[in-house]
Symmetry: C2
Subunit: 627 residues, 2 copies
């Protein structure tokens, strides 16, 4: 590695980094010569070095744990005798955008669940706003009174998700190595985000290699669903240190054995934790992490965030020492955050008081899971917030235009023409046609590539067939006012009397429409245009639910409670329109992500992910035929 | 931490740091598209992430592991079917000087024992040569054809071992914060070496705090025998991350629970591994390390180096997954060496083929310990070397003077006068005198502070009393030609007819003499002066054994076999002179280290370590009296 490629700013996340004047006073606090800010007296606290519960005081001063185990005097004293204290949880890989909230609202939401640090890959907003989106993510996650959560950033490696040269999708930005280099020295940028373009890496794509080399002194995240054997070795040799995309235990075991740390994911759509938890042991808990990846605010509110995975693990019989270590220390070490992940002198005062069920014998029963009692972040107790408190508005990047930057041809009734799927003149009305249909798999990002038979209509078109649950789906380019759009067919939504429109569409975030009829799709589309991005559901009754997402068509700054409520209404209306999916919106958005198989749709059309090429809707259709 | 305190050179010990041109070819090796340099076929290799033995090939190219588990083609193919392969061992804390050898000779010695990386605190040579000694250590440990071992350096924090202002000893150098800062950016300097001055730290000594702040972005080693409670919390809060000085299990457990990584030590003198091994578990193996600290070449030759601790652990019933992880991955992670400590793609090809005893059922019996079969370092097999091979001489620093820079009064017969311990005129010959005597404890660095009764001679002196095993011991300043010397009495050597002289004297490395008579001490002294430093034993028969140590009076560049042989002769002659200690020379040298209790001797006289002050030889002696 030549020095020119190395960043010049050391990451200041070593334990015990104080203001030069403060070190002497920290020593005095620790020695008990000055009263500390806060003392939690006589709690049981987890020693993540030995995997033992220790008993005694936890003393905190200047946001730092200054003493453990001994008896201290504090300005604030809390009786910890009923407390089981563990280090604050770390979400080792998250796209905050998938919470539909700005970073400050996300902070408000996850802190009470015990999450005190997250590692954010802002590649959703980077796909919309480009380099300015990454800068916006850094600016809007700066720690301060409104953002107590520690938010670190990984520089998005794959914007768009597939190499621009493949022409598989149109993103708002195309970020090359030189675009990312400038972010490398930011002290909150920890490394390079998920390298989804593993075919590019394996093939030696020069831009991919340059990105890996530029970030060679820092952690570089992976994303390699199903990769194995020698290709997985090659992925590891290139410096990739994590993957959060394992869906089977065998896949995760192979990755871990090859030095690729496994992040156990429980998103809203991709729920892999239960499958992968057998990987967790006392031994491996030092090198595993938990992550949410893409998780909506409803699930965070009802099931939890990282605490959800913790509960799944505990209820699955895993010991608390292993579970809480993976949730904190394991993730911290992976990302070189040496100032957190343990309850010990010199570590940040990020901690969670958890309450297991206590048996009649007075022993904790961890297999019943935990409740979060109290959360301390940087020495401050997290208070349930009056979410509606007035806030200074979050700014947008200066040059951010309207979110739906749509070609005039897609405004008004003219969309109807685009929704039409014509057949060839040679196809007689009533004759069968073999078509490719995207098969949605509930709670998976991966899809099936189905072949279905539809019948040519009297107008020489192909139409949705509700009896087979085959609906039209359309992606419309929304960044550059091009006319590009892709139309396809999808199975698995179950919509009978409604349509969904959204400006969220992984990762290029074009506009996306699905519905039981052209008419309802058009209605949803117009509503989406009116509010300049967000999520819309229309019902044939005329009822409409919506959630405007003014920040890049992805995020809102409304209070978390209101966002959850809007999402609840959207889900409810989608269900009343016949939708059978538990998480219709994230699931819909991932139908456009052409790096996870098998059949996807982008503004360029249907994408055969295995072969990385655009394919026609009709099976056996030769090139040049429509569509 | 203000940025000005942070070093500017990132440590390039991330996994997978290649020359920018090499990344593409590493990927091709890993994919099996090019034949690798070396393939170890079908071995069992340890996966230190899951704690499992995996089976399959290990493929190596360009000094790096490029593939594991799959089948590869190599230019060199080794049948690994009988091999159990583990990552190369790491000595997490060593003073190479204590091997009595230059770094290149030390490299030759420990590599065949499986040690592939060491973390060197060169504070012995720094006490002699000052800043130039640290530079010499860096220069002489530069990787190259003669030095395959990876040698990293911690900047010595305590030269001399006690703060100069206490006046407890005279060292060759007094290194302050500003002297160390220049070394911080060297890519092989990993951090700050053992902070022995924990009283200074606890008391807020400004120079100690500045050193800690200067190195705040890097690991800072500890050394705190017996420290506990709030003071141990304060030591941790100041950023100290390791300690290798625990002598009881309880002490080690408290340190680890407070986030201070425990290094299990097995030196030649301080042998703590067996006592501390109960600390090792599957869980803790990720956060523990093994170290030798001070180990002589004879012990390395006969018992081993880090492999000695591994064998003690295995024979104590610890599982190989935990033992080998602590010996490699645990230590590597502690010191931010992310490119080693595991057998996985992108890691350095540092590995050891070990042979456990195989039971009649064909299973390995780890409890019988291991033999080292083969060692691979950076992709090269370690060959047993013809040690006598001619070498270009190792240079000394330009301004390095004679090693025994001794005041003329100490040359010739005049030393005799200094060995005289006069009593006061009021002491009648034959009357008893209460004296302080250093009580040597075999295999411990700590001593007892004994009170013994001697009888005033007719010449109004106190003399050695062989019947009580009380000998004279003397330290003579050898750096600045001052006249300072300390004389004392020691119990525990057992010498009846001989004397030992040495220029090794932790850590100030003045000259040190002990013997059964003034006459023999003088003989040993003259021999030590003649050879300008080293170790000498004289026997009353006139027989002499010696080992010249031309590099600072501490090290030689002679072949390891010759050094061991010389040491064997020295030990044998000391034993024939009555010495009862198993390791007389290291044990003797540590009698001068005033940071480890209880009674020690320096050129300033007897030191009461608990109270950090010079005390008179006679008990209840008022100030101003002699000696």
């Amino acid at each position: 590695m030549s020095p020119k490629h190395l960043p010049n700013t050391p990451r200041p996340y070593q334990k015990s980094q104080y203001d030069p004047l403060a070190l002497g006073s920290m020593i005095r606090y620790a020695r008990g010569l000055e009263p500390c800010d806060l003392v939690i007296k006589g709690s049981q606290w987890l020693d993540v070095f030995q995997g033992k519960w220790q008993k005694g005081d936890l003393a905190i001063a200047a946001g730092t744990i200054v003493g453990v185990g001994e008896s201290y005097v504090g300005k604030q004293v809390v009786d910890g005798s009923g407390f089981w204290v563990v280090p604050g949880f770390i979400d080792s890989h998250v796209h905050i955008e998938s919470s539909l909230m700005t970073p400050r609202r996300f902070s408000e939401t996850v802190l009470p669940r015990g999450t005190t640090t997250v590692i954010w890959d802002p590649h959703e907003i980077a796909n919309v706003w480009g380099v300015q989106g990454i800068q916006w993510a850094l600016d809007q996650s700066e720690p301060g009174p409104e953002i107590l959560l520690s938010i670190f950033i990984m520089a998005p490696s794959c914007v768009p998700s597939t190499s621009q040269s493949l022409g598989l999708e149109t993103s708002g930005a195309d970020l090359r190595a030189q675009d990312l280099r400038g972010f490398r020295d930011h002290p909150r940028v920890l490394g390079l985000a998920e390298m989804m373009n593993y075919p590019g890496l394996l093939g030696g794509d020069p831009d991919v290699l340059t990105k890996l080399e530029d970030f060679a002194a820092l952690p570089r995240d992976g994303h390699c669903p199903g990769l194995s054997g020698k290709d997985l070795n090659a992925y590891g040799v290139a410096g990739i240190h994590t993957c959060h995309e394992s869906t089977t235990l065998g896949e995760a075991q192979e990755k871990l054995s090859k030095g690729i740390h496994v992040l156990l994911r429980e998103g809203s759509c991709a729920k892999n934790a239960s499958t992968l938890l057998p990987l967790l042991s006392d031994y491996s808990s030092a090198v595993l992490g938990f992550c949410s990846d893409d998780r909506n605010p409803l699930d965070i509110e009802t099931e939890g965030h990282i605490d959800r995975i913790i509960n799944l693990a505990l209820m699955g019989g895993h010991g608390p020492a292993a579970v809480f270590r993976a949730a904190s220390y394991g993730a911290a070490r992976m990302y070189q955050l040496l100032d957190r992940g343990a309850l010990a002198p010199g570590y940040r005062a990020d901690l969670v008081c958890v309450a297991p069920k206590i048996t009649t014998k007075g022993e904790p029963d961890w297999t019943s899971g935990i409740q979060i009692q109290k959360v301390l972040k940087g020495g401050q107790w997290i208070q349930p917030k009056s979410s509606a408190a007035p806030l200074v508005p979050v700014p947008k990047p200066p040059s951010a235009q309207t979110n739906l930057n749509i070609h005039t041809q897609f405004r008004g009734e003219s969309l109807k023409d685009f929704l039409r799927i014509p057949t060839s003149d040679q196809d007689a009305p009533g004759s069968p046609v073999q078509v490719r249909v995207i098969g949605v798999i509930p709670q998976q990002i991966v899809t099936k590539s189905l072949t279905k038979t539809l019948v040519v209509t009297s107008l020489h078109t192909i139409e949705a067939d509700l009896s087979q649950d085959i609906l039209k789906i359309m992606v419309i380019e929304r960044h550059h006012k091009t006319k590009s759009r892709g139309i396809g067919l999808v199975h698995g939504f179950g919509l009978k009397r409604g349509a969904i429109a959204t400006s969220i569409n992984h990762d290029s975030h074009n506009a996306l429409l699905v519905g039981s009829s052209d008419h309802l799709m058009l209605m949803a589309w117009e509503r989406l245009l009116d509010m300049d991005g967000g999520i819309v559901v229309v019902h044939e009754s005329g009822e409409v639910a919506h959630l405007p997402l003014p920040y890049g068509g992805l995020m809102t700054d409304e209070p978390p409670g209101q966002v959850s409520e809007a999402l609840r209404r959207l889900k409810s209306l989608a269900q009343r329109a016949g939708c059978v999916l538990e998480e219709p919106f994230l699931q819909l958005s991932f139908l456009a992500l052409p790096v996870i198989g098998n059949l996807k749709i982008t503004d360029q059309g249907l994408v055969d992910v295995t072969n990385m090429k655009v394919v026609p809707l009709r099976v056996n259709e030769g090139p040049g035929k429509v569509p």
